[in-house]
Amino acid sequence: MKTKKNFNLGSLISANSVPILFVIICAVMIPLSGLPANYLLNEVVTRLGRNTFLILSLLIPIMAGMGLNFGMTLGAMAGEMALIMVADWQIWGIPGLVLATILSIPLSILLGLLCGSILNRAKGREMITSYFIAFFMNGVYQLIVLYMMGSIIPIMHSTLKLPRGYGIRNTVSLLQMRQSLDNALAVSINGVKIPFLTLIIIALACLFIVWFRRTKLGQDMRAVGQDMNVARDAGIDVDRTRLISIVMSTVFASFGMIIYLQNMGNFPTYQAHTNIGMFCIAALLVGGASVDKASIRNVFLGVILFHTMFIVAPAAGGKITGDSMIGEYFRVFMSYGVITVALVMYEAKKRKENRTMGQQLANEQKAEEEGKTA
């Protein structure tokens, strides 16, 4: 009954306020930036192929009620480590990417298990905890890549190593893998390069998620996400289900990172993953997702809107203020801002729900009481 009443324009706008805001921002900034449409389109399509898979990895933990998985960074690290090894072994092209993907699976499962079991000890605080797991593991990643690779883990090529003889350089070149996925089956329409194979892989991942929702595990995750206690009473192994959701997310994220980095062609060894979680989450939220609800639609809408904003902001900022730094800071501000707003709305909603429930009961009694006294 409630849902029917809500189906008017006002609530539709308020429910989608974030995407609408971004549409407006983009609509204002695109003409201001003066960027040619072709360039813009090309950039957006490139970024769509590059980022979507990573963002898809966020959907499963949201389904399991664990909020925005800042721990996806762990998957990104697994993907990076796999790529470093593959680059060292000189496996090139698509075979190299496939090998990196296979290598990243055990790594990311391991990291996912770690992350998931910590999060099971911090129920109700998953987001802030996963946020710090990402930071913590960044230290471990540095320990491995900066100190153990080349000393304990054999690295053959000195081009990868720091001059001191161990540790990986600040940039890892993936020259021989660069866009090998994107260029396979690529189609160019009006100068806009469409990375067909990448998009097919993304489509498969979407299909998987749609299908996954219909599996027993998917159903269990939704149940756990909505009410852990009821799910436990019904015999669902809550902790295990949550653990699996994080492991899946981490594995997905490592695949996503490999796709992302093959497009870039090289990566800064120690920084590539630091903010990736933040930007993926911001993009998802821009697409209209919330902490407890996200769909594939949100992912695509989010990637397009967020990245359009990202591309045009510096140019537009430069045109307005004569300083392109303004635009760069602006887009960083928007990324943080949108996450802040989404978190505030989520928490406020949780509290409001409790309150309205009380208010409603009070009113009912009042009405009844008035009826009786009258």
Partner: protein
């Protein structure tokens, strides 16, 4: 499978104690397939403990198991978890809903028992990767809804459902379990409207007709009489009566529920003072309180100066809502006058300023600062409300640690609080001693009027007597009006001058404490919602 003449369920000499506190003694009864058994008794009579044993709840095992035998079809059963009980064909609908809010009725009915279709992935990743068979789910859900005999929309999402439908969804879930032989319903009609309740009673009948045995727990005695084959009445952990429903009536059941053989002279020896001439110190009009599970509706109550008023009633009927509402801890409306002046509701500060004090029933989360010292616990409200235990040095007003320690030690002696010293943390004390700290906190406020809510809940017998004595002394010596809320009628009768009984969120009646238990019992069940 079923042997003739063996009852479906038989309990033999069931005994259970919680840490030496005997809650069930020698429970024996039988139940045939297709029979409906009504189980009644006051709160704390042992009904829910018995059901927990039957349903294999963890808490029983964790507290040392039980004695005696549970026989199902003549076979001795030992349930270690609810899932064992489910396997054996026992289903239970708890008082609190156990439903996933965003799922449809169908999804909830088949929660974690969904029919599945094999998928390729499951070969590798385990059977949880099988997909759900939605068609089969719909079919089974419809089937169990039909079995129940009440029509609910299987596609409706639970959060959109009226309360009654949620209840029916829960029952349908139990019915969808194919081997269901015994269904336990714990106060299922409490949340239903009259029509829904009637529908439920009909469906109980039709379930019984299909050979399912039902244990039906309720406080609505009329329902018991109309639907049950036999009635079992429990009191203080004993089965006091086990009769066919046809051979009894509401009055007899009530008497059995609350009646006690007067064997100890304790009651008679004490004085019940009449305060009807005293002036009214607090007058409550049209009070409603939205306290979840203890809703109060339209309560009018006058409290006389200097008396001890008891408020009794069954759990969930609203007796706890009255003090919590007046003291501003839960949303409330109506008017409350104290000493001729109106008191703001929903503002604890105003009540405390008017020299009212409240000892909450929720010791651990409202009553105490568990992680702080006893000193803090005792002195805190008095410091904050009345600026006691403060001293001025220079520009600052400091806590007067010495005064705080003194007052705490005074109450430690007076109330015989067992602790290592006034600096001990409240968390480290036993329940009874924590309760005494709560009392000390209220006494330190030197109130003119004291609400005490369930002061003896969960504490041992010795501490109970001490707490009650302290309350009586406080009332008699300082002339403070005390309103005590308790689920234990006998306790109220021991200490109070008058007792008001709350039923269905309203005051069902007020009687002097020396009236018989039976009369109070009748009031308790009079308007049960």
């Amino acid at each position: 499978m079923e042997k003739n003449n063996t009852p479906l369920l038989e309990l033999r000499n069931i005994q259970k104690d919680f840490f030496g506190n005997q809650v069930l003694t020698d429970i024996n009864f039988t139940l045939e397939a297709g029979q409906v058994l009504g189980l009644v008794g006051e709160n704390g009579a042992g009904k829910s403990t018995l059901m927990k044993i039957l349903f294999g709840m963890d808490v029983i095992r964790e507290t040392g198991g039980y004695k005696g035998d549970v026989l199902l079809n003549g076979e001795k059963m030992q349930f270690n978890t609810p899932f064992d009980a489910l396997k054996a064909g026992i289903g239970m609908v708890h008082q609190e809903f156990s439903l996933i809010p965003g799922f449809t009725a169908t999804e909830n009915i088949l929660l974690n028992r969904e029919p599945i279709k094999k998928s390729v992935f499951s070969e590798v990743f385990g059977e949880r990767m099988d997909t759900l068979n939605y068609k089969e789910m719909d079919r089974r859900a419809e089937e169990s809804i039909k079995k129940m005999g009440v029509d609910i929309d299987s596609k409706m999402v639970v959060s959109d459902m009226p309360v009654g439908h949620k209840q029916f969804t829960e029952i349908a879930r139990e019915l969808s379990k194919e081997n269901l032989r015994l269904l336990i319903l714990d106060e299922p009609t409490a949340v239903l409207t009259e029509r829904e309740a009637q529908a439920l009673l009909d469906s109980i009948r039709s379930m019984a007709a299909q050979g399912i045995a039902v244990i039906f727990i309720t406080h609505r005695l009329q329902e018991i009489l109309s639907v049950c084959d036999k009635v079992i009445i429990m009191r203080d952990g004993y089965v006091v009566k086990d009769v066919p429903a046809k051979e009894t009536d509401v009055r007899e059941i009530t008497r059995a529920m609350v009646g006690r053989e007067v064997k100890e002279g304790g009651n008679a020896a004490r004085e019940v003072r009449d305060h009807s001439d005293a002036r009214t110190i607090m007058s409550i009009r049209k009070l409603w309180v939205d306290m979840p599970g203890e809703i109060v509706r339209n309560v009018n109550l006058d409290i006389k100066e200097g008396e001890i008023l008891g408020i009794g009633g069954l759990a969930g009927q609203g007796k706890l809502g009255i003090p919590n509402g007046v003291m501003g801890l839960y949303d409330a409306g109506g008017t409350v006058e104290f000493d001729g002046k109106a008191i703001d509701l929903n503002n604890p500060r105003k009540c405390l300023d008017a020299q009212l004090a409240f000892v909450s029933e929720d010791r651990r989360s409202v009553g105490l600062l568990l992680d702080e010292s006893l000193e803090w616990n005792v002195a805190f409200p008095a410091m904050q409300i009345q600026n006691k235990f403060l001293k001025k040095i220079g520009f600052f007003t400091w806590r007067d640690e010495k005064a705080i320690a003194n007052v705490t030690n005074q109450y430690i002696d007076e109330l015989k609080i067992k602790c290592t010293g006034s600096a001990q943390k409240a968390r480290e004390l036993s329940g009874g001693n924590q309760q005494k700290v709560c009392l000390a906190k209220a006494f330190a406020l030197e109130p003119r009027f004291l609400f005490v809510s369930e002061p003896t809940r969960g504490i041992d017998v010795g501490a109970k007597a001490l707490v009650l004595e302290a309350l009586r002394k406080f009332n008699r010596e300082s002339g403070v009006t005390v309103v005590m809320i308790s689920s234990e009628l006998e306790e109220l009768r021991m200490i109070c001058d008058r007792i008001a009984i709350v039923s269905g969120g309203k005051i069902a009646g007020i009687l002097p404490a020396d009236h018989s238990s039976e009369e109070f019992g009748m009031l308790m069940v009079s308007q049960v919602k």
